[in-house]
């Protein structure tokens, strides 16, 4: 990753990039990934979620820690994943302005 890749992003851009990666890994239409949509109801297999997190780690060059309270089914909804990744990026100072 170049330094440019680590320049702060807007919260909206971060959300957009996260959702684009999840849509690609889950082979789903991006429009289905509404914040409240449940991962199980979208039919995303657990391995696809793991792959999506791996791709997100690569894309943002960050480590996305396992949510200690509930590994194995870490994210119930799309927003659970987006919020978790956004939180990690925010902590690393990678989101411009106040965290969304």
């Amino acid at each position: 990753m170049s330094d440019a890749a680590h320049a702060p992003l807007t919260a909206a851009a971060v959300d957009e990039q996260i959702l684009a990666i999840v849509a690609k890994e889950a082979n789903l239409d991006r429009a289905l990934l509404r914040p409240e949509a449940r991962i199980d109801e979208l039919g995303i297999p657990s391995l696809d979620m793991t792959m999506a997190v791996f791709e997100l780690e690569k894309h943002f060059d960050i480590e996305i820690p396992v949510i200690a309270e509930q590994p194995g089914a870490e994210f119930a909804t799309v927003d659970d994943l987006v919020s978790h990744v956004r939180g990690v990026l925010s902590k690393a100072g990678r989101i411009a302005g106040p965290a969304a």
């Binding site: 657990s46 391995l47 200690a68 309270e69 590994p71 194995g72």
Partner: protein, 406 residues
């Protein structure tokens, strides 16, 4: 017990020898005492560097001194998994007071386990330290049949010898295949089970990437379970034809009754209740048994949200409203991967022999998704006539043993 002429086995099969190396005990008496005391073998990793690991817990075999068990000239041939296998196999054959057998009718069917310690350290030398050459015994140490081959060589067993590969069900597939080969009259006796020593930096990082490792201990079937913990060890059984065991006056720990297998043919890693149920039913059918005959199940019980929920659903479908005690030894010995089914079959044989069910430790809160009696935290004395031992592997491979009191 259902008596069906078509399922009547031509040859009964006895379990006459048991051997173990595990985090909670270096031999069968220590293992069984710790397992029924609810001792936890999970702790901070001590045998490998942990700086790069996110999860630093495992159920390691500590205090194992290879030099105490093997001659100096032999040690370079043996990966840690093979060392553990040989130590457990020696105990099993001593336990059985094995004596002489027809070598051509004596086999070894053992879990295929890659020599991870060798694999990891060799490639660290090559890629990490730019070594010009690797040790000439790297290949025979890594090969997944190494434990089987070394057992055959040490004891002069010249019949069929091979390794079964089904990841975390490997040992159970080995034991079930050994059972079938004796039952059908092809062999008199088989050394079987599994060994695994995969706690290497590379392999732990690979597990970490799957996001299923517990940051805490392993709490199977508990609502707050947080994943699995990797373990290592070996569990070995000597199986022999019932008539041979009786004729030589052997002490019989348990009887092998049935073996069932299935493939989910679905998801690569997510388990299937249909596949688990099909394998349990197949094991019962193979032994001419009904679900109503079963008094205890030694569960696969990894402590992941998905496995435990799925296994519990399969058990509920098998037993209906009857609450059969089900416990997970992995709460104490960790997930010993290719060795898991071997260690758990030893535990199941001892449960049958002693009428004592090891608990599921670390249990804190009932989970409505796992509505089973998981023998929480404290062992239970109950006579057991028939027990199942479940193993379900990545790749959707399921194997179940049905065992009976001798």
């Amino acid at each position: 017990m259902k008596q069906s002429a078509s399922a009547a086995p031509p040859c009964r099969v006895a379990v006459t020898g048991l051997g173990v190396v595990a985090a909670i005990g270096a031999d069968v008496p220590a293992f069984w005492s710790a397992l029924t005391d609810g001792a936890c073998g999970i702790g901070p990793i001590a045998n490998i560097p942990t700086e790069r690991l996110g999860s630093r817990l495992a159920a390691e075999v500590n205090g194992f001194d290879p030099a105490a068990h093997f001659a100096v000239r032999r040690l370079p041939m043996l990966d840690r998994a093979t060392q553990l296998a040989l130590v457990a196999a020696r105990e099993a054959l001593r336990d059985a007071d094995f004596g002489d057998s027809d070598p051509r009718r004596s086999g070894v069917i053992f879990a295929a386990a890659i020599g991870q310690e060798t694999f990891d350290s060799a490639y660290l030398e090559l890629y990490g330290r730019n070594a010009a050459r690797l040790h000439p015994l790297t290949v025979p140490r890594i090969m997944p049949n190494a434990p089987a081959s070394h057992i055959a060589m040490e004891f002069g067993l010249r019949g069929p010898c091979f390794a079964t590969a089904s990841a975390c069900a490997s040992a159970t597939h080995a034991i079930g295949t050994a059972f079938h080969m004796i039952r059908s009259g092809q062999l008199d006796c088989v050394v079987t089970g599994g060994a695994d020593a995969s706690i290497s930096v590379g392999f732990m990082k690979a597990w970490e990437a799957l996001r299923v490792l517990s940051p805490d201990v392993c709490r199977p079937f508990s609502r707050d379970r947080a994943g699995l913990v990797i373990g290592e060890g070996a569990g070995v059984l000597l199986l022999e034809s019932w008539d041979r065991a009786v004729a030589r006056g052997a002490a019989i720990h348990a009887e092998m009754l049935g073996f069932g297998m299935s493939s989910d043919a679905g998801d690569l890693t997510a388990p299937s209740a249909d596949g688990a149920l099909q394998a349990m039913q197949a094991a019962l059918d193979d032994g001419g048994l009904d679900p109503g005959d079963v008094d205890y199940v030694n569960a696969h019980g990894t402590g992941t949200r998905l496995n435990d929920r799925t296994e519990a659903a399969a058990l509920r479908r098998l037993f209906g409203n009857r609450r059969v005690p089900v416990s997970s030894s992995k709460s104490m010995i960790g997930h010993c991967l290719c060795a898991g089914g071997g260690l758990e079959a030893v535990a199941t044989a001892l449960s049958l022999r002693d009428g004592l069910l090891p608990p599921t430790i670390g249990f804190r809160e009932a989970d409505p998704d796992c509505d089973i009696d998981c023998v929480p935290n404290v062992a239970r004395a109950v006579p057991v006539s028939v027990a199942l031992s479940n193993s379900f592997a990545f790749g959707g491979l399921n194997a179940v043993l049905a065992m009976g009191r001798a």
